[in-house]
């Protein structure tokens, strides 16, 4: 294998995980835009996606497509429950408290998953076999193609949703200005609920897609969530194109550093990127938002 194919190989594997980071980063952005809080439980949605899919597809032997949609619906429901329960009933509406509630919720979900699914590493079969396609000498697994395809479909669908549909426009109105949106007759509470459900669904898709490649266990949520967050920061927090570019870039950076430098520190790369971006360009690549407090 020459250097070019090797680099290409790293690129493909980076884009594969990068797509998942992008999905997580979009989930962060949606809740950030609707509520202004960092939803710490975003990574747990990804973990739950993998776990529910394993339950529906692996244990209950449902058809794959049905299991896929059931999983997405279940995790979206978990997202809604998080909003309907602790977030909605919080006595304090301070951002600090709400963020900490999502931290509590994320630990709680992790503990619950450990009881339900145990401590073992679980996995799913790939969607369509494990025979790689050779592109310019680099092997691409069919699962990677699925990940690229589904991520592209989701991004296009979300773009159309936010630009064309009334619901999407209402969500953008809430993001732009909560009070004005309320005055314009938009049911802000329902929009916030919807944004939690949507983030849950996106996380679930990420979890279902990545589990055949990386396997899953009750404690993968934290790292995945944090990487998705790093991706969102890298692209510019709250920006949709930023989330996608940030996710892909982070995945590629990680894959190259693991391949060329050392795989021991692969996990550290994402957080190093996070710290460096916060140091030198906190608005990220695409962020135009003024981040300075008052």
């Amino acid at each position: 294998m020459n250097v070019f194919t090797q680099l290409l190989q790293f690129l493909f594997s980076g884009l594969t995980t990068g797509s998942i980071y992008a999905l997580i980063a979009i989930g962060f952005s949606i809740i950030q835009n609707a509520t202004g809080i960092v939803n710490f439980a975003q990574g747990e949605f990804v973990m739950l996606g993998g776990m529910f899919m394993i339950t529906f597809f692996g244990f209950l032997k449902l058809p794959m497509v049905l299991a896929f949609f059931l999983t997405v619906a279940s995790v979206a429901l978990v997202g809604c429950l998080l909003e309907r329960g602790p977030i909605r009933h919080s006595r304090s509406k301070e951002v600090l408290i709400l963020v900490m509630i999502t931290i509590g919720a994320s630990i709680f979900m992790k503990g619950l998953s450990m009881m339900v699914w145990g401590k073992d590493t679980l996995t799913l079969p790939s969607f369509s076999g494990d025979t790689p396609t050779i592109i310019f000498g680099a092997a691409v697994m069919p699962q990677s193609l699925w990940i690229f395809g589904i991520t592209i479909v989701i991004v296009v669908a979300l773009h159309l949703f936010f630009k064309r549909s009334l619901l999407g426009k209402a969500l953008r109105a809430v993001a732009a200005n909560r009070k004005t949106a309320m005055l314009a007759g938009i049911p802000v509470h329902r929009m916030v609920l919807f944004s939690f459900g949507l983030s849950g669904a996106l996380g679930a898709v990420g979890g279902i897609l990545i589990t055949p490649i990386t396997t899953t266990s009750f404690n993968v949520g934290l790292i995945l969530g944090l990487k998705g967050f790093s991706a969102a920061i890298l692209g510019g927090y709250g920006s949709m194109p930023g989330a996608i570019v940030g996710g892909l870039l982070l995945g590629v950076l990680e894959s190259f550093s693991a391949g060329l430098i050392s795989s021991q520190f692969k996990n550290a790369v994402a957080f190093l990127v996070l710290l460096l971006v916060l140091f030198f360009k906190p608005s990220g690549l695409f962020g135009t938002k003024h981040l300075r407090r008052v």
Binding site: I37, V99, G104, S106, M114, F229, A268, A270, L272, V294
Partner: protein
Amino acid sequence: MNRQNKIYLCAFTIIVLLIPTLVSSNYYLMVLNIAALNIIVVVGLNLFVGYAGQISLGHAAFYGMGAYISAILTTTIGLPAWPTIILAMVITGLVAYVIGIPTLKLEGHYLVMATLGFSIIINILMVQLDGLTGGPSGFPGISHLGIGPIVFATDFTFYYLVWPICVGILILSFNLIRSRIGRAMAALSSNEIAAGCAGIDTDALKIQIFVLSAVLGSLAGSLYAHYVTFISPETFSFFYSIQVITMVIIGGMGSIWGSVFGALLLTILPQILHVVEAYSVLTYGGILMVVLVFFPQGLFPGLVEAYRKRRPAAMPLSVKEVRQG
């Protein structure tokens, strides 16, 4: 320090000093020693959460840095223990300063993620740099602390080292809150913009509190290393950060006695109730969520308030209560 706190603190100190004469089991003394270390970390963290209005999920890293710096410099290089503890505090403080500068100025909760990311990097380093840290299997053979001929090797003797330090930290914290800096901190916590207008450099103040809380974490970590004499990366994982933040929340943000209560409760409770121990992740998550939803000011202040309401004659009414009739 006001009179009330002085009385409480005297009573607290007397109780603390008497406990080892009543408790004969080394196991309980060990639990109390760990509780004292937790109090040091939690009080520091609470000054930061309660007054700077920010969350740190990186205190496991500061605690771990203290432990590992002490362990490596004293055991591998052979430096004397006490100066190394100070050195570890300085290094940890500098690191916290460097992390704090960019993140504390930003809107939103970047610091949560930055501190969490930092603590994960630290944990990866502890595991991967096994030549230096002993890797996942840990770092054994750390010496006990000593002053002159006294060596704090047993649970009993270490008790009389760690608790006076802990009480010292409490005195320091109470005095800090009553000082000029403390009043600036109170102004910052109630309204940042107004505090800025009153001439307080709010950014610098937040960084100072963050550094102080990191330094206290480091101190506790060093003491832990010299007490247990064996450290491993697991102790300093993300879950420790969650534990100390839960102790802060239970005790109430900005309440020092609350922190003492929170740290004692959550250190001792798992030893008594084994259900709590077995499902610790679930319990901590549940406690964090429920307490924050229903008592955002903390469980301890919530209980104190409920008690005061029940006995209105015993305590003078606050202005707000008088107005409410």
